[in-house]
């Protein structure tokens, strides 16, 4: 198999540009907040605790932000070099735990949810879209369409509450929260894996239901022009069997649907972040809500950065996969 070098180089370039943009945005935003963010937080903390805060904390906060009153470019360079060394600062809420430690615990759970739910929703959604497209303009198609659109009409967290209410609060079929049962030791043992799946079931179900519609409708709209195309008609006239034709049309339609992946990783990540707090799932989303409530900027920035890097890497992998799957790109290397 030929390797589409030029395509890969282009994608690497885009990856670096977007990553750099996100890192810079992360640097700029807290500095846009009027006044000194450290002081703002400090005042809030003082107010909240009734004045029982050591003033050293303000100095500490300033240090955390690199608020050395140095010129902006120096701050930026310090920020970049800290990043490069994996130094994301210290969380204010969980003081003195470094942000990187929290992320190391939380990020794997989030990634697990995102990857599982995207895979399932991609598979089911495409299958449903295929079903609708093949039976286009019949009541079957209409049912699939309406169901997908209806599911997509629920804000993710509303769906999460509905599901939590039905299956966990009232049904008591699934746990109310957590990633695995506390009575089981973590490790690659069968009870542990079962417990993880059991705990992830409701969050994954929620994300799958709310993101299914995009894949279904996308696939339906891709497969219909394919089924109407001349070469499919030609194959039909050659006497190809109906299931063969459907699978050809399906394969042709799934490729453009893959481009939707870049958006869907971001969207699913959004969904997961929201839902983790509802299902008390110990991923980055839960920490993000805590960070916002406590104006914990270092933690917020760290999560922001890690999530973006995860999404970018995910996109990059999908792009590479796409480069190998699409014959037009594969052939282009010379």
């Amino acid at each position: 198999m030929k390797i589409p070098v030029r395509y890969i180089i282009n994608k690497i370039f885009l990856f670096i540009v977007v990553l750099f943009g996100a890192i810079t945005l992360n640097f700029v935003l807290p500095r846009l907040i009027p006044g000194n963010p450290a002081e703002t937080i400090y005042q809030d903390v003082v107010k909240a605790s009734g004045g029982a805060v050591n003033p050293v904390y303000l100095k500490q906060l300033e240090a955390e932000y690199g608020l050395s009153h140095a010129p902006l470019y120096v701050q930026y360079l310090t920020y970049l070099s800290d990043l490069f060394h994996g130094n994301l600062g210290v969380s204010i809420t969980y003081y003195p735990v470094p942000v990187s430690t929290i992320l190391a615990q939380a990020l794997p759970w989030t990634l697990f949810l995102v990857i599982t739910s995207i895979s399932i929703s991609f598979f089911i959604g495409n299958r449903m879209g295929r079903y609708g497209g093949i039976n286009r303009n019949t009541w079957k198609d209409l049912t699939v369409d309406i169901f997908s659109m209806f599911m997509a009409s629920f804000p993710a967290f509303v769906m999460a509450f509905i599901i939590l209410d039905i299956f966990a609060v009232n049904g008591k079929l699934f746990p109310l929260g957590g990633a695995y049962s506390s009575s089981i030791n973590a490790g690659f043992t069968i009870p542990f894996i079962i417990s993880v799946i059991y705990h992830a079931f409701l969050p994954v179900l929620t994300i799958v239901l709310t993101s299914l519609g995009g894949w279904t409708l996308g696939m339906r709209n891709n497969i219909i022009p394919n089924l109407n195309s001349d070469f499919i008609n030609y194959s039909e006239n050659l006497g190809m069997k109906s299931y063969q034709i459907k699978s050809i049309a399906y394969r042709n339609a799934i490729l453009p649907n893959l481009t939707g992946f870049s958006m869907s990783i971001g969207l699913s990540m959004s969904g997961v972040i929201i839902e983790e707090s509802i299902f008390s799932y110990p991923g980055v989303g839960m920490y993000m809500i805590t960070a916002i409530d406590n104006l914990d900027y270092p933690l917020m920035q760290g999560i922001f950065l890690m999530v973006i890097i995860a999404v970018l890497v995910g996109n990059f992998i999908v792009d590479l996969l796409y480069g190998f799957l699409d014959p037009r790109i594969r052939q282009e290397s010379g």
Partner: protein
């Protein structure tokens, strides 16, 4: 007679794919020298992929040539930009192949002819001029056609509307890129006849681009045969068709369906 338009070893390369690393190139035109005389109908003949449409688009600067020069009335126009290019384009107009694509589906016939008149700051009465142009391309009565949208008229009528649009700028050269290939055979003669009468009445020089040798002999004075981006044969139309010297031209002539030849 003097030469109104002339190319000097025009070449055009296309990059197959542009990225950070440059891709392969395809030579669409290779060292092409042609000239067009005043009041002449010149035919450019070639199969698809011969580079004839590329040449047409270079002559109106929809593409820039990779190398070579273009002279219009003995002025080097190759590097023209901005206002000078605008002036040149009003002198050298192009008629597109597909009359179903060359008219804006959201605008009326009237709009299509009015815009060039407004843009060229037409001095006289615009309304009268629109009627005049429509009559010139034999769309009678003009008032019937003016408010029609492109989808309400036939292919042959569309191509004539397009001619009226191009002629509104009073060009000196008209480049017609396969203007009749999308039309029914019965309509082709009408449009070709219209082209020759435009030459007679307005003194416009015409470059007629086609793959169809039958229509070439009907209207053109002189012919260039293009093959793989090169001119392989040129001369007076009757001479070339009667006595082709290049093997490719011979193949083209043999391939052309002769309506009078019995199978």
């Amino acid at each position: 007679m003097s030469q109104i338009l002339r190319t000097e070893s025009i070449s055009k390369e296309f990059m197959v794919r542009k990225g950070l690393v440059t891709g392969n190139t395809i030579k669409a035109l290779n060292d092409v020298n042609i000239y067009l005389e005043e009041r002449e109908i010149l035919a450019l003949v070639g199969a698809s992929g011969s580079g004839k449409s590329t040449l047409a688009r270079i002559l109106v600067f929809l593409y820039r040539p990779t190398s070579g020069k273009i002279f219009f009335q003995d002025q080097d126009v190759t590097k023209y930009k901005g206002r000078k290019l605008k002036k040149y384009r009003s002198d050298v107009q192009m008629v597109f192949q597909d009359p179903y694509a060359s008219l804006d589906p959201y605008h009326t016939v009237d709009w299509h002819i009015r815009r060039p008149l407004i843009l060229s700051h037409y001095k006289g009465n615009v309304e009268e001029r629109i009627d005049e142009l429509l009559e010139m391309v034999r769309l009678n009565p003009p008032s019937y056609y003016r408010e029609k949208f492109p989808h309400q008229i036939s292919g042959g009528q569309r191509q004539r509307v397009y001619l009226a649009r191009a002629l509104a700028l009073e060009p000196k050269v008209l480049i017609a890129d396969e203007p009749v290939s999308m039309l029914d055979v019965s309509l082709r003669i009408e449009v070709l006849d219209l082209l020759s009468s435009i030459r007679e009445k307005l003194g416009v020089s015409i470059i007629y681009i086609t793959h169809d040798l039958n229509t070439v002999s009907v209207i053109s004075d002189r012919i260039y045969v293009l093959h793989d981006g090169k001119v392989v044969e040129s001369g007076r139309t009757q001479d070339v068709i009667a006595n082709p010297s290049d093997s490719y031209t011979r193949a083209l002539i043999e391939a052309a369906p002769d309506p009078y030849k019995r199978l």
